[in-house]
């Protein structure tokens, strides 16, 4: 994983992030169960509001994906981390699995406080002139609007399988997208790639959610969570 590590984060990034009036949730990745546990022991001592375990990064060769693929793997790593972490614990899932609902169940069974989904879908692009993949790693994580329908479907499926809160993401760029995730069952949403095209995407998304609430006379946004009616 290309990042400077937890000590650097604690010394340099955290004070800066703390200067804003918002919750800080740290996304944590390791390459073995021991590493996840060690990392979360440190995170437990920091001034942060929660941890999101990343069990699903496709851009690292022998990465976290191995843990995210099976019920047993997800349950095991989540249980071990739960033992050392008192802060709110979210576990983030990869969509590159056959049955997302059963994986989410593992998160709930292991005692996490919530489940995040989806991470990036594994993708590949080929340069047809060079007849080679465009990405140096050959394959890579696909994000943004292209993956939104998959994400919404998975959030819905997971919402049917677990009772813990869902943090939904995947292609959200405006309020309408956010509402879709909430109707599907997400209590909260997050935005990744959308920030790359417009630094104000999050602000615009909040405004868009408020517009929707006005339009349908909704006083509390929680009232719409999971209220999609199936055909």
């Amino acid at each position: 994983m290309q990042n400077p590590g937890v000590e650097y984060f604690a010394q340099n990034d955290l004070p800066f992030l703390r200067s804003f009036d918002t919750a800080i949730i740290v996304n944590a990745c390791g390459s073995s169960i021991d590493e996840y546990v060690e990392l979360c022991k440190i995170l437990n001592t920091l001034d942060i509001d929660g941890v999101e375990l990343n069990l699903s990064c496709p851009n690292v060769k022998e990465g976290c994906m191995a843990f995210g693929n099976t019920y047993e793997g997800v349950k095991k790593v989540t249980e071990e981390v739960r033992k050392v972490l008192d802060k709110p614990l979210f576990v983030k899932l990869t969509p590159n699995v056959t049955d997302i609902a059963s994986i989410a169940k593992a998160v709930e069974d292991a005692g996490a406080d919530g489940v995040s989904l989806i991470n990036t879908l594994l993708g590949m692009k080929i340069d047809i002139d060079k007849k080679r993949p465009v990405l140096a790693n050959n394959t890579g994580g696909l994000s943004g609007p292209a993956i939104k329908p998959v994400a919404v479907r998975m959030v819905y499926q997971v919402s049917q399988a677990v009772n813990i809160p869902i943090l939904g993401m995947g292609g959200i760029v405006n309020g309408d997208d956010a509402i879709e995730f909430m109707l599907a069952g997400a209590q909260a949403i997050s935005i990744g790639a959308g920030n790359f095209i417009d630094p104000y995407t999050s602000v615009k998304t909040v405004i868009g959610i408020e517009d929707y609430m006005k339009k349908y006379n909704i006083d509390d946004i929680n009232n719409i969570v999971g209220t999609v009616q199936m055909n």
Binding site: Q2, N3, V134, G144, P145, A193, F196, I197, P199
Partner: protein, 263 residues
């Protein structure tokens, strides 16, 4: 601080079949820009194409707050951009990149560029010339058809060498061959380069052999341009083989000391 702006397209010029020069009104970006900076342009209000496209700054008209860039139509993004009309607005973020060309401490500078890599070198040459540097410019193209901006570069250089690979225009050969010949004669004390990778590698090597400070502007595929996605990584020259360390072209670059990066 980079700024997000809907900038008016005040002038548009087609330099070649697939080459366009845009002039946009962006006073704050212009004020904060240095030679070597780039901007990221969102070509569509829709989400397709999704990501912004990185384009170098070609010229800064500080008096009028006009920023100029030149781009080649490559794929969907630049195609859409090329259809914008004068008076419409261009969605731009900039200036980007902390690594810019630093020429101030040198006197006899060599500027070398190839193909579409010459665009970011114009502002550098202009600034250096205005600051009484001896500017030796070497620009290379594959053939006569691709030659652009000869007059423009002549204006901002004390000495301009234009080459084509096939000799159909200017001098025959690679620009770097002529630079190499001039190093002693012109007492070249610094090299600034932008262009295709093979050229940059050759320049990097030449600078190392002659022990001349050298700055190169790199290109990488960029998703965010803001140092967030880590997609534009380049290996540092000092990092050990088994645990590579990276710098990010959009943030630490796009201009690097040629000794610092492995290209």
């Amino acid at each position: 601080m980079p700024e997000l702006l809907l900038a008016e397209l005040v002038n548009k010029q087609q330099l070649k079949k697939d080459l366009f020069k845009f002039s946009i009104k962006a006073p704050n970006i212009v004020k904060n820009s240095k030679p070597g900076n780039f901007v990221e342009i969102r070509v569509s209000e829709q989400t397709e194409p999704f990501l912004r496209r990185p384009i170098s700054i070609y010229n800064l008209d500080r008096e009028n707050g006009i920023l100029e860039f030149i781009f080649q139509v490559k794929g969907k993004g630049t195609e859409i951009l090329s259809k914008k009309e004068v008076g419409s607005s261009i969605d731009v973020v900039g200036p980007l990149g902390y690594g810019t060309f630093k020429y101030e401490e040198y006197q006899n500078i060599a500027i070398i560029g190839g193909g579409i890599g010459i665009f970011p070198l114009y502002e550098l040459a202009k600034c250096a010339k205005n600051n009484n540097k001896n500017v030796n410019t070497y620009i290379g193209f594959r053939n006569q058809e691709l030659v652009v901006l000869e007059e423009e570069f002549k204006q901002v250089s004390n000495n301009l060498v234009l080459t084509t690979d096939d000799g159909s225009y200017g001098k025959k050969g690679f620009a770097i061959n002529f630079l190499e010949e001039d190093i002693n004669k012109e007492k070249i004390d610094s090299i600034f380069a932008c262009g295709p990778l093979p050229m940059l590698k050759a320049v990097q090597k030449l600078a190392a052999e002659k022990n001349i400070p050298c700055q190169i502007s790199l290109e990488e595929k960029m998703a965010c341009g803001l140092g967030v996605c880590l997609g534009c990584a380049v290996k540092t020259a000092s990092s050990p083989k088994d645990s590579p360390e990276y710098l990010h072209v959009c943030k630490a670059g796009p201009v690097f000391n040629s000794k610092d990066v492995e290209i």
